[in-house]
Assembly symmetry: C2
Homo-oligomer: 297 residues x 2
């Protein structure tokens, strides 16, 4: 199968590696504006060739758009207008509502399958691409009834090839949920990093940075060029998530100052996160008959 | 050497494992109030025997107190009053100011070396003990001039055996620094867990929990029985750290809502944490001639 990937960073590059390894792709074509990234991607053999966008949309089976979400919005209508009749298009952006809106009335809307493979690291660029990044993770497919069944089936098959499970939900639900489970932790980490960086005696503090701090602040290394547009596009739900978090944080702060019993109650409640962070959630969810296709479990 | 460890949880148990493996200890005696933990500790061969506190203080070379910080405060004066003349005492609590105050005028104060080996996991109990937990990590020794040089030297040698580097600072400085680098990340994680747990559609959210959420919320699994007393004993500096964090978090929130340029500035600033979380801080600190003994690097 001919695959075109627009954007050869961590996500686009990692998809390329696994689609090649699995022989799902017979030829991989890349589109990459950044000339250094383009060179690195060819050097790492992520793609067979780099073409300009116009050429790369010709005679290809799937177009995967893997660029920051603000750029997806600008580019997606152009892509849908310039593909061959049978080509399937997907994007991998962390927000979906605004992106889906941008092509809601496009004549080729049914060629497009909005998706969000939920995996990543705090690194970016083609050198950060790695095999198996998506294994056992969840790919969200949004508003699936708005895609033609053939295009939907092909994108499902692609994520199945990446060994992912698939969750179906509306763009709105995906943006709301990811605001809490993915975007909020990034905001939390950015603010923690800024707090510690602002300390006067920061050299002492840094020397003491142990595993706990490293884990909690890890996401603060994430690229602003990727996360800024996500925060802007999902502003409504991210502000809701941040305001809810501030309420809980202040509640804990007040309890530490004035109400020890309440403090223990809040900490004990937080411990319930164990099952989730230990990855025990899936069986629980399965019992609730949620519409998730478990291919890999 | 005869070593007595009071409290055979994650920290006490892990110290036991490494002191035995290195032959620093010839006999390990444990004191453990929790009968299940006591049985597990013996079963895992963490210690050679369990004694009651009174017997365990007789004819031993080092007493290591590894229990929650509220219990250290109650027990430390008793321990100092009941040791043999030459015995060295240390504790491994995450707070130091209140603990040091509790024995400031004790006649055996110079037998005591307040310390804080900075390592751990979110798990607790003797089954969580593991070899090499402290390797390449920092042990803080506080107010070292208040300890007799022989007792100080022996505790330094013990941490050197655990392959730790040693930082020297006042109890006040240690409590202030750890409030930001260790206690604050725990508060941040507890509040993040509570935020997500409070969502109505939480089963959907949990299913989407990816590596980023897991990393940021990991510390929310920590035991309230250990962290509650830390938050209470270091209340003054933890509230300072939490208030500073709230300021930075709200600043980020406001910038997302109203000031995109400022948002990018804040995210770019947070990226500077890279060097610290990637563990590149030590060389920087060394250049500043800080009083850290690097045994292992």
């Amino acid at each position: 199968m001919e695959i075109t990937i627009i954007g050869l960073g961590l996500i686009g590059g990692s998809i390329a590696l696994d689609l090649r390894r699995s022989h799902f792709a017979t030829r991989l074509t890349g589109v990459e504006d950044n000339p250094i990234h383009a060179r690195e991607a060819v050097k790492r053999n992520l793609v067979d060739r780099i073409l300009n966008i116009k050429e790369a949309l010709t005679d290809t089976d799937i177009v995967i758009i893997a660029i920051p979400v603000d750029k997806i919005i600008s580019l997606l209508p152009y892509v849908l207008s310039n593909i061959s009749k049978g080509t399937t298009v997907t994007d991998v952006g962390s927000t979906k509502l605004e992106i889906a809106k941008a092509v809601a009335n496009h004549p080729n809307r049914r060629n497009y399958v909005p998706s969000h493979p939920m995996s990543g690291t705090e690194y970016s660029g083609p050198m950060a691409a790695k095999e198996g990044l998506f294994k056992q993770k969840i790919a969200i497919i949004c508003d699936h009834k708005k895609s033609a069944p053939q295009h939907l089936a092909l994108i499902e098959k692609m994520y199945q090839t990446l060994e992912m499970n698939i969750a179906y939900m509306s763009s709105d639900e995906q943006d709301h949920s990811t605001a809490f489970i993915s975007h909020l932790p990034h905001a939390v980490a950015f603010a923690l990093a800024n707090t510690v960086l602002a300390k006067e005696n920061r050299s002492i503090i840094f020397d003491l940075a142990s595993g706990g701090f490293r884990s909690t602040a890890r996401l603060a290394k994430s690229a602003p060029s990727m996360w800024g547009p996500i925060f802007q596009q999902n502003k409504f739900y991210i502000l809701e998530a941040m305001d809810t978090y501030i309420k809980h944080f202040i509640e804990l702060r007040e309890s530490i100052e004035k109400n020890e019993d309440e403090m223990y109650k809040l900490m004990t409640n937080a411990n319930k996160i164990k099952d989730i962070v230990d990855g025990k959630s899936s069986s629980m969810i399965k019992n609730e008959n949620r519409i998730i296709k478990y291919f890999t479990k």
